[in-house]
Symmetry: none
Subunit: 199 residues, 4 copies
DNA sequence: GATGAATGAGATTTCATTCAT
DNA sequence: CATGAATGAAATCTCATTCAT
């Protein structure tokens, strides 16, 4: 994983860079960004703090790089969604794909959900907000009734929360995801229909 | 000294404790708990850091005291809810009251939403989680179908998010609250009915 | 104790001053002077820190006052000793009285033994050192052989240590005191005789 | 940078850890542990406080490390003593060696003597007490008459005190040590004989 | 690629002390 | 006699960051 024959952008042998990202994300998600020190990350990897600085210019760069690496599928999905006709079926397909895409980025999303105050100050904050707005705009016309817009936002939240906040409801990850997906699809459906009938 | 005849909000001597709480909550909600230093709070109030320590033994105690003071109405509501018959009408009433109760505790909830990683490490983390579970258990039987349980959690999230995360949807606070309320009520209704129809 | 019929210098009703001294000495002896804060003393007495300042101008004054109050018998003993002929019998009598006098000042001496570094910086440090020198000079001529002088110092140390450092040797206080006394008397005897026999 | 050509006393990079220990011990012994701040130590060394924390995790670790480094010869001596037959000659030999071993650890022992209250709270407190008990148990049977046990403890105290508390008796260190040694040996002899003759 | 050593800034916390009431 | 409120100074400690090797 991450190794290609051509030299483009990915880490070759000595995958320290990725190990740093992995450990950092785990700790960031578990304890929060500010409470996780570089010393801690370094200790988990059994290297020195200075080694981290060989791979990343700052602490912020670690989280930014994670964001950039892990949200690519989601970005692509949204890009794709924008070009489709905004039918109900398309919307459903996007919800389904979004749910699937979230699986790979789960720790990052948990991190972002639980450290919003921090994220807001980071460079990635705005990017993320824009992405969420794009997603919402695919689901519903900005001129649609407020209630239906809320339903769309609610659907997205539900998908996010289903990843990491409903673990006490059902421990089987796939069952949970299915239930969450159903609720989200339903919210989107109602928003879609409500927008046509119109407030 | 510091006493006025009219009862209006005066806050010279004597209410420093509350002024600390007010300023602290504002800053915690805005910048996050860890990024807000006691120096900053003290400067905003034009007192020394040591003065804060006269009123609160630790930084954590400030946020804990806020939690305890501000969540009392919500606790009482949940207590009340538990004793009612679990009819749809009761559930709706609880949702309506919960929405209203959240208004008073808005900055605290924004803080808790945006600093979950921090809150989790604080003493209040578990209390809050318990409260949320209690609320969910009022809305739906833990044995009900998973999908309906998700709907209930989704309703609660929607209420929370409506407080502080949908400000770009509609700037008028009361309009937003009404729309959010409607979506939440609808989710509860569907959960209620879905639970009767069966697994 | 501390109450006399004439009004001289001792505390009347409202014996807070003495209660402060008692608690302070106990804590100082147990934890050390620097590690014992005025807050702690105040809490033990169930008064505020400010109350302490009504009775003592500074923290140092508390310990100084204790020193002055409790070492009076010892000072008087030394004063008395100086005026006696320096026979062996006198020396023994002083040792015996000194051992008895130490009993009343035990916590103070424990404190001074265990906080010498602190005591040295306090006003009382020099006074105490002078007292010890006076005592030694009663026991032996400063021109006597060095070995005998060491024996005298050793005797005094033994008396001190017997008060609080040999508790694991024998738990019965009086038995311990008797044994310690015997060793000290013996050391003094040998010093006395060694001094006569010559350099 | 910091490098000299001649080998005199220069201490470039690399021995900071020991320089910290040296300066710290000096200051601890002179002013006491609590009264010596890390700022002060750092200033004496012309480094920042943070540099101290690179070498020692806490202030306590500094003193603990000193204790561990400097008491090693004494520990070895006691270990050796335990395995010898408990004859009078052995005991004398131990006293002599102990006196010599103390020379190297003089500032540490002065520190421990003068900061007992502090030491007691530190991790090293118990270790030290154990060591002293071991030493005493070599000198005399725990079942021997109390008076003789006191004599042994007295001998050890005398050795300690001779290091740093009798400087006004005789300024020549070696003369003082010889005198102290004689008194200690004598106390041990009497204890040994007293134990045979019985209570 | 990585380390060892260090720094500057700043965090939380504690303390003795003061003073108006 | 005593308190409530506050302060100024300083303490221990942590952190992200730097740089020569």
């Amino acid at each position: 994983m991450g190794v290609t024959m051509d030299g483009t952008k990915q880490q070759r042998r000595g995958n320290t860079r990725q190990r740093i990202q992995d450990v950092a994300l785990e700790l960031f998600a578990e304890q929060g960004y500010e409470k996780t020190s570089l010393r801690e990350i370094a200790e988990h990897l059994d290297v020195t703090k200075a080694a981290l600085y060989y791979h990343f210019k700052t602490k912020e760069e670690i989280i930014v790089s994670l964001f950039e690496d892990l949200t690519k599928p989601i970005e692509e999905l949204i890009e794709w969604g924008r070009k489709q006709p905004h039918t109900l079926e398309t919307k459903h397909e996007i919800v389904r794909r979004y749910s699937r895409a979230l699986v790979g980025a789960e720790p990052l999303f948990r991190f972002m959900q639980e450290n919003q105050a921090t994220v807001r100050e980071l460079r990635i904050g705005d990017t993320f907000k824009d992405r969420m707005r794009d997603l919402r705009d695919i689901f519903i016309d900005p001129e649609a009734p407020l209630v239906e817009q809320v339903r769309c936002v609610s659907a997205v939240f539900t998908l996010h929360a289903g990843m990491f906040l409903m673990q006490d409801l059902e421990s089987d990850f796939e069952k949970r995801r299915a239930a969450v997906l159903e609720v989200a699809l339903d919210l989107i459906t109602r928003a879609h229909e409500g927008a046509r009938g119109g407030a």
